[in-house]
Symmetry: C2
Subunit: 355 residues, 2 copies
Amino acid sequence: MYDLKQFKEKFDPVLNQYLNEELNKFNSNTTDPLIKEFSSHAKDLLMAAGKRVRPYIAYIMYCAAGGKEEEKKALEFFVSLEIFHMFCLVHDDIMDKANLRHGVKTEHEFVTEKLQQGGRVGNIKHVGVSQGILVGDLLFAWASKFFTDCRNFEIGNINTAKDIFYKMVDEVILGQMIDIDLTSRVDPDLQLINEKTRLKTSRYSFVRPMQIGASLADPDNGFADFCEDFGTKVGVAFQTQDDYLDIMGDYKLLHKNILGDVCDHQPTFFTNYVFTHGSDAEKDYLNQVFGKEMNDEQRSKVKKIFIGSCAIAEGQKLIAENYNQAKTLLGKADLGKEYKQKLSELISLVENRQS
Amino acid sequence: MYDLKQFKEKFDPVLNQYLNEELNKFNSNTTDPLIKEFSSHAKDLLMAAGKRVRPYIAYIMYCAAGGKEEEKKALEFFVSLEIFHMFCLVHDDIMDKANLRHGVKTEHEFVTEKLQQGGRVGNIKHVGVSQGILVGDLLFAWASKFFTDCRNFEIGNINTAKDIFYKMVDEVILGQMIDIDLTSRVDPDLQLINEKTRLKTSRYSFVRPMQIGASLADPDNGFADFCEDFGTKVGVAFQTQDDYLDIMGDYKLLHKNILGDVCDHQPTFFTNYVFTHGSDAEKDYLNQVFGKEMNDEQRSKVKKIFIGSCAIAEGQKLIAENYNQAKTLLGKADLGKEYKQKLSELISLVENRQS
């Protein structure tokens, strides 16, 4: 049973090969060299980085549920999860107006910069966004098509895994719709923030990949509830920790300025805590800077508000509680020892991350 | 065997029911009433209009290839094509910055206007576009998921139909990438214009739907080449006619200003003809207004250039040739009489359209 790093070493060549095959087919239908570069950049984005957490937990649960097919076939199957994930990121980056992803130019930015090199007319930024939307669509197409190509497993197993895959797709799209909606709301409430976390983090990053892996091995695996409960706890802890690091993290490790959520008018557990439990002065100040770029002095003041209002302490409590509950659930689960061990290592890894 | 109008009457309730089921599942995962409106607007767009040409020709070929399953199951299958088509349109409308589609607000415009009614902060137009991207993604998800839900046919038939479906998806995405690329090129060439027509019109609107229908009935149907040859001819004629109507059509019937392609810097057979065969004065004038809004006098002058340079006459010849070749292919095809009759009626319908 691989750890996450070993898994990535096995998984990446399989992912790379699949992308090469799809790109060759796709690019053979045009003579336009630039469009071939645009589509190929999606592969550069996928191969540049990414921890492969989603395929990895799918793989752990596949093994835990008694998956017996040869390893490469199982790894091939989980390629769909990673390509789907990059589809989400390519479209997210357009919505977030992000320029970099894992140190590589985002898709729409890559296209825009290429076209800005000359010989083009019109609204180049809009063309860049349009091509970014289309390359995202292409990745979604490949993730979906994947199930069609993959005939290595019993049809009942593939169908059950696919049913869960498409539940996950609806959930992450809805989660992102709520996320976008929250950024423009004057009065974001905790219920919507929690819905977003449940859909976009718990279900998408943990529950569904685990269930997909288990179902591929055995449609009647009996782990659905464990995946739901365990994945939900890990997801809430993970998302809250993400939001915590955005306030308290080291900007050098994060490769970005802290307090991005406040600047982006992105409500989180922490902003919500200040808005509902803070003093009037704390609320007023956070409200003044919410959705605006800040200077160092303002950042420092906002950070103090998050600490002084006890938002940070309460958030840390929530993170610890959820990770602990996840560990308790794992301890009780009817899983083989080595799979428990790997899931436990994974929790430690995410729990101790600094970025 | 239904004609197109009768088909739509049978098909639309099936489409409507499928959309209702998906929307109910999707919307049950959030308490946000506005997001429910955003997702539901996709159904309004789908049900407002649309001739259902793609599912109809798939249905003709399904019957021609001996499809024997009960009718409703076949209609259900082709729902995926129509939902996929609306996914393309929702994303296209973002790229084209279009406000209306079949007289209904486009998805991103609908969201933007809803949010502009008050109580929101930030860049509302960008939020509208972001939600539009996501609702498009959702439609693509439903079109893809459809194959998973649909277990009414032999798995071999579904798999063959799906293989062709995903070829079509890659083709239409590539066609749209070329389309977008062409709008920003200083020197668009005929080869790229032809690649776009082949992928985005011939393959997407005719060849692949026909092959999907035939394969669903019988994976070894023997009609693949006929679909390819016939669909290619009809597609070239259809696209060239579309571009012709944009110059010579009646703006009252078109519900839009003529010469939209010229204003949008969209190269066509006709613009290419002027740029390669026109006099220097004709080339210069077209170049001056290419990609710009025009007043009536300018429009009138550009129209005269298209006529005077023989672009219109040559385009009409191309349209007639391709429709005639399609009719000849149809005459020779080894298809049952009533299916030939319906395909022939369909050609007449598109050939005689005024908008």
